[in-house]
C-alpha cells in the first residue's frame, strides 16, 4: 500500500548512501511511485468505495488498520504531491548549501512521509497515534540537522512539547474514548455514545485539541518557531507537507469521526475552543507582524493559519468544516511556496531578515513572484486557493451569525496583508542597496523549478477546485 513506497525508498537511500546521484534518484523514484499509488486510489474513493486493510490485532478490540475516506484521501494527495516537489527542492538546497549528513536527511524525510501517509489513512485512533508519534520522532533528526548547540536546544523544545502533549493528553484521551465507546474506530457520525455527560465531552474534546500539539494552538505553539533552525526544506515539510497538517487533519478527523459535530454543537462549552482559536489567530499574526526574521514571520503565520482550520472546525457547521478541509489544501500549497522562496533567497544571498530584502525582486524575479502569489493566498485574495477556503469558512460563520468568528477572520486578513505585502513591496519597488543585486541571479534551478510549480498550483487550485470538492462532498453531507 501507500506506506510501503516511502519506506522502501528509505531503505534504498540507506543502501546507496555513498553515491549521491543514485541516492537522490531513489528518493525521486519512490516519491513518483507514491503519487501513482495514491492517485490511483483517488477515483475509487470519489466513486464512494472505502477500501480497508487490517494489519493485525493488537489485543482484542484493538486493531492496527487503514481505511480510506475522503478527508484522509485529500490529505494523502496533498502530502504525496508535495513530496517529490520538496525532494527536488531539497536536492537543490542541500547541494547548494553543502549540508552534511545528507543520507540521514533523506532517510528521515522518507520515514516522515510514510508516517504522514499512515496518519492520513489510519482507521482508528490508535493507528493514528502510532504514526503521529512516528512522525514526531522521524522529524526530530531533521530539526536538529545542523547539530549545533542551538539546533539541539530547539530539537529538545520540539520533541519536548510534541511528545509531552501527545503522551500526557492525547493518549489518555484515546484511552478514555476507548473506555467510553468500547472502540476507537473512525466512524461516520461519531463513536461517543449519545448520552455522554456534557462536561465529560468538553473535557475530552479539550484533551484532543491540546493533545494534538502539532496543530499549534496557543499555548502549545512554541515548538513551531523553535523548529526554524532546521534547513528550509525541513521547514517546508513541517509547515506545509506533513507535521502541522497532520495536526489539524487529526483535529478535523477527530471532531467529525469520533465526535459528531451535531452533538458537539449542542454544548455551549465548545465555544471555548472557538475563542482559543480566535485568540491564536490574532496573537500569532501580531507576533508575525513584529518579527524581522523571514522564517520566523512565516512560522507565526503558520500558527495563525492553522487556527483558521481549528476555528472553522469549532464552528461545527458542515460548510465551514468543508472550508477547514480546503484550507488544509490551500495553505499547504501557499505556505510551501513561501518557504521555498525564503530558502531560495537564503541559498542565493544568505539573507535571513525582512529588512534586507529591499529590491531583491530585481535579482530574483521568479522567486519573488512566487512569493507574491503565496502571500496573496495567505491573505485570501483571488485568484489564489486561499480565497476559496476563506469563502467557505466565512459562509459558515455567516450562516450561524457567529460574530466572533467573522470579526476574527476580517481582522486577521488585514494583519496578513500587513505582514506580507510590505515584503512584496520592498522586493519590487524599493531600490537595491548595492549594485550587485541588480543583475539577474537566481538560486539553483531545482529550487526555482519547484517553487514555480507550487506557485502555479496555488492558482490552479483556485480555478479547478472541483476534484477536491467532489471528493469531500459525501463526507460533508454525512456531517449534517
Amino acid at each position: 500500500m501507500a506506506l510501503l513506497a516511502p519506506l522502501i525508498g528509505a531503505v534504498l537511500i540507506l543502501l546507496s548512501a555513498r553515491k549521491p546521484n543514485l541516492r537522490e534518484s531513489f528518493t525521486l523514484l519512490s516519491a513518483a511511485s507514491l503519487i501513482v499509488i495514491v492517485f490511483s486510489l483517488l477515483p475509487q474513493v470519489i466513486s464512494g468505495a472505502r477500501p480497508e486493510l487490517e494489519l493485525f490485532e493488537l489485543f482484542p478490540g484493538m486493531n492496527i488498520g487503514f481505511r480510506l475516506e475522503p478527508l484522509g484521501m485529500l490529505f494523502a494527495c496533498i502530502a504525496s504531491l508535495l513530496w517529490p516537489v520538496n525532494s527536488i527542492y531539497s536536492i537543490g538546497y542541500m547541494r547548494g548549501n553543502d549540508e552534511k549528513h545528507q543520507t540521514r536527511f533523506y532517510i528521515c524525510f522518507a520515514i516522515a512521509i510514510a508516517s504522514t501517509m499512515g496518519i492520513a489513512l489510519s482507521a482508528n485512533l490508535v493507528t493514528l497515534f502510532i504514526f503521529y508519534e512516528m512522525l514526531t520522532l522521524s522529524t526530530y533528526p531533521l530539526v536538529t540537522h545542523k547539530g549545533t548547540e542551538d539546533a539541539k536546544q530547539s530539537g529538545r523544545v520540539y520533541l519536548g512539547i510534541l511528545l509531552t502533549t501527545s503522551i500526557c493528553l492525547l493518549l489518555p484521551a484515546i484511552i478514555w474514548t476507548y473506555s467510553l465507546a468500547g472502540t476507537t474506530m473512525f466512524t461516520e457520525g461519531g463513536i461517543i455514545p449519545a448520552g455522554t455527560d456534557g462536561l465529560v465531552m468538553t473535557a475530552l474534546f479539550l484533551l484532543f485539541v491540546y493533545g494534538i500539539g502539532k496543530a499549534a494552538l496557543m499555548p502549545v505553539h512554541r515548538w513551531l518557531p523553535a523548529a526554524m533552525v532546521a534547513p528550509t526544506p525541513v521547514s517546508a515539510l513541517l509547515h506545509a507537507v506533513a507535521v502541522v497538517k497532520a495536526g489539524v487533519f487529526s483535529i478535523v478527523k477527530v471532531s467529525t469521526y469520533v465526535f459528531s459535530p451535531a452533538a458537539l454543537s449542542v454544548m455551549l462549552d465548545v465555544n471555548f475552543v472557538l475563542y482559543l482559536a480566535g485568540f491564536t489567530i490574532i496573537a500569532a499574526s501580531i507576533v508575525a507582524l513584529r518579527s524581522d526574521n523571514l522564517k520566523r514571520r512565516l512560522a507565526y503565520s503558520t500558527i495563525s493559519q492553522l487556527s483558521y482550520v481549528v476555528l472553522a472546525t469549532a464552528l461545527l457547521i458542515p460548510i465551514s468544516i468543508l472550508g477547514a478541509a480546503l484550507h488544509i489544501l490551500a495553505h499547504a500549497f501557499g505556505k510551501i511556496t513561501l518557504f521555498f522562496a525564503a530558502g531560495s533567497i537564503y541559498t542565493a544571498t544568505h539573507k535571513k531578515n525582512v529588512s534586507e530584502l529591499d529590491g531583491i525582486g530585481y535579482r530574483m524575479p521568479i522567486t519573488m513572484a512566487a512569493f507574491a502569489i503565496g502571500s496573496l493566498s495567505m491573505i485570501g485574495v483571488p485568484p489564489t486557493a486561499g480565497f476559496l477556503s476563506k469563502w467557505f469558512i466565512l459562509q459558515g460563520a455567516f450562516s450561524i451569525e457567529n460574530g466572533f468568528a467573522i470579526t476574527v477572520i476580517i481582522i486577521s486578513t488585514l494583519l496578513n496583508a500587513g505582514y506580507f505585502l510590505p515584503i512584496v513591496y520592498a522586493a519590487f519597488f524599493k531600490q537595491p542597496v548595492n549594485d550587485d543585486d541588480r543583475c539577474f541571479n537566481e538560486a539553483p534551478w531545482p529550487i526555482v523549478l519547484s517553487l514555480s510549480f507550487t506557485a502555479v498550483m496555488t492558482m490552479v487550485l483556485f480555478f479547478y477546485p472541483d476534484i477536491a470538492i467532489k471528493l469531500l462532498q459525501p463526507w460533508v453531507s454525512s456531517l449534517s
Binding site: L58, V126, I130, K152, L163, T164, P172, S179
Partner: protein
C-alpha cells in the same frame, strides 16, 4: 511418566548442575553446561506453560508426601508465566554472554560464576514453584546469596562494596520475611501457602496476622527494591558485570514481585491485605514516590548502567502500582509490565554490555558520538529506549495502555496524570543517552579506552531481545492473555 515430574525437574536440574560446574573447573565447559541447563529449563517451562494455560492447576507432592505434612510444588497460570520469563531470559542471555563474561570476570573465577548463576536460577525457579512458605524463604536465600556472589565477582573492585551493601540489606529483608513466616506458623501450625490461607480465614484475632503482613511487606520490599527500600540496587547494578546486571534486572526483582503477589492473593487473602489492613494505600504511596524518584534520579546520572538502575526502580513502581489498584485489571497490568519490563530492561542492559565491551566505559561524558562507531548496537538501543518510554508498537506501550486503563476504571485520575508525567521523564532520560550517541561530537569525548570488536554472539542475543521488545508490542496473546487470565483467577480466590 517423565512429564509428571516436570515441576520437580524444573528446579532440580539447575541445582544438580551447579556442583557439576565446580567439578568441571573449566570456563568453556562451565558455559556450555550452564547454557544447556538453562535451555532445558526453558523447554520444561514452556511445557509447563502449555499445561497451565488451560487453567488447571497442577500440584506435585515431593516424595509422595501429601501437603500439609509434605512439601508440594504448585503450578498454576501465574507460576507458569513467571517460569517462562525467568528461564527464557536465562537461556538467551547466556547464549551470547561467553566473550563478554570472559572480558569482565577474571578467567580463574569464571567457573565459579557459572556455578553461582545456576544456583541463582535454582533459587528463583524454586521460589516460583514451591507451595510452601518456608520453602519460599529457603529459595529466596539461595537466590540472594548466589547473586551477592555474582555481583562481587566482577573485576571492578567497587563491586565488592556494592555486594556488601546488598548483602546487609538483603539479609535484613530475609530476616523480616522469616519473622513473618514464623508468626504465621505460630498462628496456624502449617506452612503450606494454601493451607495457611484457609486457616487464616477462620482466625479471629488479626493483630498478629497484621504484624506478619507488615514484616513480610517490608522484607519483600527490600528484596524487590521498592522505594524507599531500594538503596542496594543502584550500586549493585552499576558495578556488577554487565551480564549479571542484565540477568538480575530482568529476573530477580520480578520474582520478588511475584512473591508479593502470591502472598497477598494466595496467602493473606485480598480481603485481609487490602480490605482490613489497607495495604494497597501503602503500596500505592511507595509506588508513586518510587516512580517519580527513580525517574528523576535516572535523569541525573552519568553512568548508563546507573541510569538504567534508577529507571528500574521507577518501573518496579509501575508494577507495584498495578498491584495496588486491587482489581483484576490492575493486577493484570502489573503482571504485563513484569513481563514486558523484563524483556525491555534486559535489552537495554545488553546494549550497555556491548558498549562496555567495545569502549570499556559506560559514562555518557566519554561516549559522545558513539552512534557513529556502533551504529548497530545504538540502533537497537533506540528501539529498546522507545519501548521503555512506551511508544506504540513496542512492548512498553502495551503495559502503559493497560495500566492507564485500569486506573481509569477505578477513577484514579491523579494516578493517570502521574503515569503520563513519568513517561515524559522516561523520554528525558532515554533521550539523554540518544543525544549523546548521535548528536554529540566525538571530538569532545574522552579517549576510547578499549577498541575491541564486539563478537557476533553478543549481537545475536541483542537482536533476539530487541526483536522480542517489538514482537510483544505487536503480538500480545502471550503477555496480555496470560496476565489477564492469571489476574482473574487470582482475584477470584476470595473465600
Amino acid at each position: 511418566m517423565l512429564s509428571s515430574h516436570l515441576p520437580l525437574l524444573q528446579v532440580v536440574i539447575p541445582l544438580l548442575a551447579a556442583p557439576v560446574c565446580v567439578i568441571l573447573h573449566n570456563k568453556t565447559l562451565g558455559w556450555c553446561l550452564a547454557t544447556v541447563v538453562s535451555l532445558v529449563s526453558f523447554i520444561i517451562a514452556c511445557t509447563l506453560f502449555g499445561q497451565a494455560a488451560s487453567g488447571e492447576s497442577v500440584t506435585y507432592a515431593i516424595g509422595g508426601w501429601a501437603a500439609p505434612a509434605g512439601i508440594e510444588y504448585h503450578l498454576d497460570r501465574l507460576t507458569a508465566f513467571l517460569l517462562v520469563i525467568i528461564t527464557g531470559l536465562a537461556a538467551f542471555i547466556l547464549i551470547g554472554a561467553r566473550e563478554n563474561l570472559e572480558n569482565e570476570i577474571a578467567a580463574d573465577r569464571l567457573y565459579l560464576f557459572y556455578t553461582a548463576f545456576l544456583l541463582n536460577l535454582t533459587g528463583l525457579l524454586g521460589v516460583i514453584m514451591t507451595g510452601d512458605a518456608f520453602n519460599v524463604f529457603v529459595f529466596i536465600e539461595i537466590a540472594s546469596l548466589s547473586s551477592y556472589a555474582m555481583i562481587s565477582i566482577s573485576k571492578d573492585r567497587r563491586s565488592l562494596y556494592a555486594a556488601y551493601k546488598y548483602l546487609i540489606l538483603g539479609t535484613i529483608g530475609a530476616s523480616f520475611i522469616l519473622i513473618s513466616i514464623g508468626l504465621l506458623y505460630g498462628l496456624t501450625g502449617t506452612l503450606n501457602i494454601y493451607d495457611l490461607h484457609d486457616r487464616l480465614a477462620d482466625l479471629e484475632n488479626k493483630r498478629t496476622l497484621a504484624t506478619a503482613l507488615v514484616f513480610f511487606t517490608i522484607g519483600i520490599g527490600l528484596k524487590a527494591a521498592i522505594w524507599p527500600l531500594h538503596l542496594w540496587l543502584p550500586d549493585a547494578y552499576t558495578y556488577s558485570p554487565s551480564i549479571v546486571s542484565t540477568f538480575l534486572a530482568g529476573t530477580s526483582t520480578k520474582v520478588f514481585i511475584y512473591v508479593l503477589v502470591r502472598f497477598i492473593y494466595s496467602l493473606f487473602g485480598i480481603e485481609f491485605s487490602f480490605g482490613v489492613a489497607g495495604l494497597q494505600y501503602l503500596l500505592m504511596l511507595m509506588a508513586v514516590v518510587g516512580i517519580l524518584y527513580g525517574s528523576i534520579q535516572a535523569i541525573r546520572q552519568d553512568s548508563i548502567k546507573r541510569l538504567l538502575a534508577f529507571s528500574s526502580i521507577a518501573q518496579i513502581g509501575y508494577m507495584v502500582l498495578g498491584i495496588s489498584l486491587a482489581t483484576a485489571a490492575g493486577l493484570a497490568a502489573g503482571l504485563i509490565h513484569v513481563f514486558n519490563h523484563a524483556i525491555i530492561k534486559a535489552t537495554l542492559f545488553l546494549c550497555v554490555a556491548n558498549i562496555i565491551y567495545y569502549t570499556g566505559t559506560d559514562s555518557l561524558k566519554q561516549l559522545g558520538g558513539i552512534g557513529k562507531k556502533m551504529p548497530f548496537t545504538m540502533g537497537l538501543m533506540v528501539i529498546a529506549g522507545l519501548s521503555i518510554i512506551g511508544v506504540p508498537l513496542t512492548a512498553g506501550f502495551i503495559s502503559k495502555w493497560f495500566l492507564i486503563q485500569s486506573a481509569m476504571a477505578n477513577g484514579y485520575w491523579l494516578l493517570i496524570g502521574l503515569v503520563v508525567f513519568s513517561s515524559i521523564l522516561a523520554v528525558v532520560y532515554t533521550w539523554k543517552i540518544l543525544e549523546t550517541a548521535y548528536f554529540s561530537d566525538a571530538a569532545e569525548a574522552g579517549p576510547v579506552i578499549q577498541d575491541k570488536p564486539v563478537p557476533y554472539s553478543m549481537y545475536a542475543t541483542l537482536i533476539i531481545f530487541t526483536g522480542a521488545c517489538v514482537y510483544f508490542g505487536l503480538q500480545t496473546d502471550v503477555s496480555v492473555g496470560m496476565a489477564t487470565a492469571t489476574a482473574e483467577s487470582l482475584a477470584g480466590i476470595r473465600p
